[in-house]
């Protein structure tokens, strides 16, 4: 659907490459694409203007004109500038010197305040705090019930007052109660409101005056368009915001609003919401959002999630197995289960550069159900069969098919694909002796500071590897492409979709398409 900025820039510079010389006009053309990409990501118009002129200034300098790969150079500059605006590093929550720390969430209707109160509470408890929630949205029907329900879900106390219509009173009493119960954090939920609703904004000012929150966080929807800035500006003028929570980042919104708010209002983005469950809250990292705005995937988050699921030792063992070609179905099942714990498959694939886009383009739907067949087949095998799939002959195959509710053919297909994957892995293992390929991901992590910023598109492509498999330290070795059974599951159309191509192939295809469309 969207053509990513990197694709477009490559398109421009590819043509120039043939001419052999880069002119200022070429840079201008590139800048137009940068501008367009940012506007399509809903970055505020004025922010885009300033941004583009900053990038241009750097780009017309020697570094791009002389560069062997100008496209990469421009992308790197854009990425750096994005990260600079988004705030070089993460700003954590502040705590009051004397507890309880009061955190107030404000925002427009439907941005996700109540849900994020619960997420934040859970997150803070995991950090060792003891939070209490206060329901001060007295307007929306059942808003208080909603907070109570969420409170029960996460087993956290919720303060509310039946029949009281003054949020200031409720919040004040809530904080008093929290102090009595020695809660360390009070999270105050407020009603959604328009920033131009004078009465409601005055109410928030009164509330702030009274409860003096340490943190006043604006909850903003990642899908917000150009208005994001004026909303945030007004809230900030009246309440002195201390931070931003960007919600609904699990969709396909690029989240340009965040960049705009950060740039114009200057408040740091502290968290992002990535799903409907109370766990779906992540600290904000500028570099990751930068690559998302550019449509470049989010390898770092992916690796981090993987690491949460796997200890260093596990990953070493796995790596050894892969290199020695001893990776068997048992290991594969393990990997599959860990992969599942990392989150929905689509979300994981989205994070891999190029793949999210390839999926959108071919309109692929990968459902987590597709693992299930593979899982069922492996579960229907004896331990011996899992360790040594070669012994699976027709009669065993029949039994496995019957046990897993699949067909003999499906089992066969899965086994074949597994063998291919095994082969690919052992080749990769042999290749990766000491070079960059092995542990590419880990190297990335170890780089410190700003991993994606220093990475060129070529590195990203390399990481994806020829066959589309993630090498080395990544659990599930051949994550995309070679996953057995995936194509067997849902019929031809879906199957072909999971055959993820290396990035160039895909780029070329798309270019043709877009050319056809333009005229």
């Amino acid at each position: 659907m969207f053509e990513t900025l990197s694709d477009r820039l490559y398109g421009i510079f590819e043509n120039i490459g043939k001419k052999g010389k880069l002119t200022e006009q070429d840079v201008d053309e590139a800048m137009r694409e940068v501008r367009r990409a940012l506007l399509e990501a809903d970055v505020n118009f004025k922010v885009v203007r300033d941004f583009v002129s900053a990038v241009r200034e750097r780009a017309v300098g020697e570094e791009v004109l002389r560069a062997v790969t100008p496209a990469q150079q421009v992308i790197a500059i854009v990425n750096e500038e994005l990260v600079r605006i988004l705030g070089e590093e993460r700003v954590p929550l502040e705590y009051a010197s004397q507890p309880p720390t009061v955190i107030m969430l404000v925002g427009l209707q439907g941005s996700g305040k109540t849900t994020h109160i619960a997420k934040l509470a859970k997150h803070l408890r995991e950090e060792g705090q003891s939070p209490m929630l206060v329901a001060a949205d007295v307007y929306r029907p059942a808003a208080i019930d909603q907070l109570h329900t969420l409170g029960r879900q996460i087993d956290m106390p919720v303060y509310s007052e039946e029949g009281e219509s003054d949020p200031v009173k409720i919040a004040w009493n809530g904080i008093k109660t929290a102090r009595d119960r020695s809660a360390s954090i009070v999270l105050v939920d407020t009603a959604g409101r328009l920033q131009i609703d004078e009465r409601m904004m005055t109410e928030l000012e009164d509330l702030t005056e009274r409860i003096k929150p340490t943190e006043t966080l604006l909850v903003a929807d990642a899908m917000t368009g150009q208005e994001a800035v004026s909303v945030a500006e007004t809230f900030n003028e009246r309440l002195n915001l201390t931070g931003l929570i960007l919600t609904k980042m699990d969709g396909d919104a690029r989240g340009g609003a965040a960049l705009s708010i950060r740039s114009v209002v200057g408040v740091p983005i502290k968290f992002i919401g990535t799903g409907e469950n109370v766990d779906a809250l992540e600290p904000f990292y500028p570099d990751r959002l930068a690559s998302r705005i550019l449509g470049m995937g989010d390898v770092v988050s992916l690796v981090e999630r993987a690491q949460q699921q796997m200890t260093e030792e596990d990953s070493h063992k796995l790596e050894e197995k892969v290199m020695e070609g001893r990776f068997n179905l048992e290991d594969f099942l393990n990997q599959l289960q860990q992969l599942k714990q990392m989150g929905p498959l689509t979300q994981i694939l989205e994070m891999i550069p190029g793949i999210g886009q390839a999926m959108r383009q071919s309109d692929v739907q990968i459902s987590d159900d597709q693992y299930k067949h593979v899982e069922a087949m492996i579960y229907s095998m004896t331990p011996e069969e899992r360790r040594n799939p070669d012994i699976i002959k027709p009669s065993r195959r029949k039994r496995i098919a019957a046990g897993s509710g699949t067909s003999s053919d499906q089992v066969n297909q899965m086994l074949n694909q597994f063998r291919q994957m095994q082969k690919m892995m052992s080749q990769m293992g042999q290749m990766g002796g000491g070079g960059k390929k092995k542990g590419g991901l880990r190297g990335l992590l170890g780089g410190g500071g700003n991993p994606l910023g220093g990475m060129s598109e070529a590195d990203l492509e390399k990481m994806m590897g020829g066959g589309g498999g993630l090498p080395g330290g990544m659990p599930g070795g051949g994550l995309p492409g070679g996953m057995p059974g995936m194509s067997g599951g849902g019929g031809g159309d879906r199957g072909s979709s999971t055959q993820l191509q290396p990035k160039h192939a895909n780029r070329r295809k798309k270019k043709k398409k877009s050319k056809g469309k333009k005229r």
Partner: protein, 322 residues
């Protein structure tokens, strides 16, 4: 806020609120008016106009196309005066939105067969509030209304719709939180039949359009409806938040693919948002836009018409030029 003026807000004339309204209106409307106050049509005019349209969330492609059409018209009709150019822009904008209304189907309300409206959208766009407004809208036409609380996922969503039901005196069919939305829809269809209800409004959980499984759930809900009434749901209403940026296109596209959206409602137009995404949707998808939500009260729902939309958001009434 401009809409409130056009669609008569029954609000208390609070001077503070009024001041807020004025502030909001000042934005793009005055800018566009000011734009055409120069003495001749110049290249600058187009550039400034482009900036304003992009800032209204029309998106780059729609803006570019609109400007091309405008330029064509201006040269074709030999327009010299900026004020005529302004009129030409208005005409082009309205024409663009007609893309989204010409596909609108006429609603047929049959006696004895419930007219089912399935309301869908991403989280927090205003589905539940829109349902309350729709209920009111139909009540005023003398139709009997029933609501099905099929948002069984979000905490207290069922309570919320129950409160609305009580206030409107509309029966609400609901199950336990966390239960299967298909099952409650099944019961709702049955109840609507038994009680001879004219309009059945089905509230669903907000879902991101990129979540395959949740979109499948919507398809299932639709199948359940079709088992009772073949033509159901006669209306599949996508609610889009007016503040939405270019992602609105993706929402419309994905929801249409899953459940064949018949109508779109643009909600929350009472803010400062310009709802420019309506133009992008009209241009790229042509999905019918049918309603607009203009406030928090029951009656703040109006039929979408291109003329009012364009005038309300971009040009204002005559008396606003003071």
């Amino acid at each position: 806020m401009i809409f409130s003026k056009i669609f008569r807000r029954q609000a208390e004339p609070d001077p503070q609120v009024e001041a807020g309204l004025k502030k909001a209106r000042r934005g793009i409307f005055q800018d566009i008016v000011a734009l055409f106050e120069r003495s001749e049509i110049t290249e600058d005019l187009y550039e400034d106009l482009e900036a304003l349209l992009i800032q209204a969330d029309l998106g780059v492609e729609t803006t570019v196309e609109l400007l091309e059409n405008l330029q064509d018209r201006i040269s074709r009709e030999g327009i010299k005066q900026p004020s005529d150019a302004r009129e030409a822009l208005r005409t082009e904008m309205i024409a663009l939105l007609h893309n989204a209304t010409k596909n609108r189907k006429i609603k047929v309300y049959q006696r004895g067969v419930p007219f089912v409206t399935l309301v869908v959208g991403v989280n927090g766009t205003g589905k539940t509030t829109s349902i309350a407004k729709l209920a009111r809208y139909h009540q005023k036409q003398g139709r009997s209304v029933m609501i099905v609380a099929a948002d069984t996922f979000r905490a207290a969503a069922i309570d919320q719709i129950r409160v609305w039901g009580e206030r409107l005196d509309v029966p609400v069919i609901a199950h336990e939180p966390g239960s299967d939305p298909g099952a409650v829809v099944f019961d709702g269809m049955q109840a609507a039949h038994n009680r001879n209800i004219d309009i059945l409004l089905v509230d669903t959980a907000g879902r991101l359009h990129t979540k395959h499984n949740l979109m499948e759930e919507l398809k299932k809900i639709r199948r359940v409806m079709q088992r009772h009434v073949e033509a159901a749901p006669q209306e599949v209403l996508l609610v889009i938040d007016a503040t939405t940026g270019q992602n609105g296109l993706s929402q419309a596209r994905h929801f249409s693919e899953a459940v064949e959206i018949t109508d779109i409602a643009i909600a929350k137009l009472d803010g400062t948002a310009k709802g420019g995404i309506a133009f992008a949707i009209a241009r790229e998808l042509g999905t019918p836009i049918s309603y607009i939500g203009t406030g928090e009260k029951f009656d703040d729902l109006a039929e979408f018409t291109p003329e009012t939309y364009v005038d309300g958001l971009f040009f204002g009434d005559e008396d606003e030029e003071d």
